[in-house]
Symmetry: C2
Subunit: 399 residues, 2 copies
């Protein structure tokens, strides 16, 4: 029996609220809060209709620390689940510290004015959370999140020492638009156009965005896709927490048409984050582009196909080299039927709910700021199977 | 000895001013006027340095008919050369009528809010100009303009009856940018994304934009290019003035990269002319795009290669079917050296100067509103050879 406040009413916020509502024994009181309360109210209506539960809603500006602190002090929740924008992480952590509430998020802090995400800002909160006796769990989505737990589980059960990690994120979905992004277009495009970094021989190595690609055939007939190496935030914590790793890379699938659109929009300056003067106003091109593109929330009903996200790990067990691949396949339309979202939001929202459940049940519970792989993976892996994200392990799946 | 006012200080306005300045015996007094007088002043400084002549400048809002009329009444020019935006044609014609001044332009009127250009609005001024004893010469650029005169010249000297006309506009230039437009991007993109219309068997037939293409090898080693059928305004008057035409088409070359950029920008809505609400302001996407793209005026120094524009006409002479091709090839860098503009502006600006010269010398002079092909082509063709746009005729050049 616990009370949670979910901050953020985008695609992921909706999934988290639906999934928490499905577990009243754990999440007995749910408040969904956002800058736009009307979005919360719409999600709450779906939840009442589909899950048969009433959740509460509130309006809050998560960037306003005193305002959010006041809400937390009035509500006294056991946990804040932050699924707002990454720009807002530090403000929400500050409010949790001020009000004495545990914290969970799905994506690490990223300053508004530079396309650069790093854990350093959030890791700097470790002592504060420890001293307050509070816990902050970082990156409890799918990637980061489930991918960190997959890595920890593989290392624990299949290896004496792990040497290489390849995280592979394939979206085989099709929404029928010539171009749309599956989550906040601004975050999506900033991520994809950023310089690639991968870890090799003790350091991160930079290469141009999208310069390394390979063909990857997914299991279970999901299909064959071009996957491109890019930087992704879980690499930063995983190479720290698994110091035997010699190489760690993240790969994501992109269709030719998606890349063509991104190249052109980049060429003409539409993906820029620097404001330009237009009609006497400062306009950030990528924000204007976002206003033109389909709302990611509108993709749910029209997206068909499957996602396939997993980790390929090589290493040594009993003196022998081997490879283990753990992956999860999810059908977009199945997600839409269950929680009115496509699989991109679903696969992020379910691990957020499970991370929260781990904390509220006291299974994962220690003061400080933690990444997912620092916790025991077994109970989380069991819950993935139970709550909509069943996974499979294959030995010797060759890349 | 005549006084002209040139309205418009974009790329074409600059070329017209330079070329008029080169002929002081005809253009003895030149006033260059624009909404932004600083642009006029910059062109005037180039002209003083390069052509050794002083021209005057003025600030005028060409959309403000009383303001423009007052300027014309104060200056009493012999002719207004309108190289402003096509949206402004009717306002400038109104001011010419009010002040009793002859008129010339290079592109027909197009309403601001629909991507549709037609002569009907300007042809409706015929009686007014006739009654006032004034002349308006429409479309005295290259295409329309030189292409109309080429057609008239071919019909006059090579055929008893012409049957088909293919106007072919190849730009083999390269500016080195991934995407930029050679003249006002808004006009350029509106033109290219418009439905195609060509004339066949007595009527205009609509087909989707860019749906018909062929490979075309230019003469004089300019190269082989994909050319695409599109609507272009001279077709409207040419099929009226040459009623024996059974088929008339316009073709323009586009590179694959240009088309890719255009397709993507269209897909995401960036070429739209309907305002969208953004940050409490109404923003027209194509105008914001224009603000991001390189200024066409900046392409001059960096564009290399050649243009090749001409007309392929088939018909009957002495009972025998034949084909005649008249074309003009111009080198971008040669234009830049002469008048600080690339060939796209040059090939439009020179025929505007020659059309003005025809009127001021009384060679083309009759009250009313006229298209180029209604005048005797011979003196205009002779002046093209003399003033920078020499042309060539080839018989039996097969498409």
């Amino acid at each position: 029996m616990a009370k949670v406040i979910i901050i953020g009413a985008g695609g992921v916020g909706g999934v988290v609220a639906h999934k928490c509502a499905q577990l009243p024994a754990v999440f007995s009181d749910i408040l969904l809060a956002s800058r736009s309360e009307d979005k919360c109210v719409a999600i709450a209506a779906d939840i009442e209709r589909m899950q048969g539960r009433v959740i509460r809603t509130a309006q809050v500006d998560a960037d306003n620390v005193p305002e959010l602190t006041a809400l937390l002090e009035a509500e006294r929740p056991d946990l804040v689940i932050n699924v707002a924008l990454p720009y807002q992480d530090l403000h929400i952590m500050d409010a949790c510290l001020a009000a004495g509430v545990d914290y969970l998020d799905t994506a690490n802090y990223e300053p508004l004015d530079t396309a650069k995400f790093e854990y350093k800002w959030q890791w700097a909160y470790r002592e504060k959370f420890e001293r307050a006796g509070l816990m902050a769990l970082l990156g409890s989505g799918f990637d980061p999140g489930a991918t960190n737990v997959f890595t920890a589980w593989i290392a624990k059960h299949h290896f004496d020492e792990i040497h290489t990690l390849d995280i592979i994120d394939v979206n085989g979905g099709n929404h029928g638009y010539p171009f749309a992004t599956n989550f906040n277009p601004e975050i999506n495009i900033r991520e994809v156009t950023a310089e690639c970094r991968h870890f090799e021989n003790g350091e991160f190595v930079a290469t141009p965005a999208m310069s390394e690609k390979m063909e990857f055939t997914c299991p279970e007939g999901v299909g064959t896709y071009n996957i491109y190496r890019m930087y992704h935030e879980e690499l930063e914590s995983l190479v720290v927490n698994f110091p035997t790793l010699k190489k760690a890379q993240f790969w994501m699938s992109f269709g030719d048409s998606y890349l063509k659109h991104l190249e052109v929009l980049g060429n003409v300056g539409m993906t820029g984050i620097e404001p330009v003067e237009f009609q006497g106003q400062q306009i950030v091109p990528i924000q204007f582009l976002k206003a033109l593109l389909p709302d990611p929330a509108s993709l749910g009903p029209r997206t068909v196909g499957k996602t396939c996200i997993g980790c390929v790990v090589t290493g040594i067990k009993d003196g022998v080299e081997k490879t283990v691949y753990v992956y999860q396949v999810k059908d977009h339309q199945d997600c839409y039927k269950e929680v009115q979202s496509q699989a991109i939001s679903y696969t992020t929202g379910v691990p957020a709910m499970i991370g929260a459940k781990m904390m509220l049940e006291g299974i994962w519970k220690k003061p400080g700021v933690w990444n997912m792989e620092q916790m025991d993976p077994d109970p989380f892996m069991a819950d993935l199977n139970k709550y909509g994200l069943p996974w499979t392990v294959i030995e010797d799946y060759k890349l």
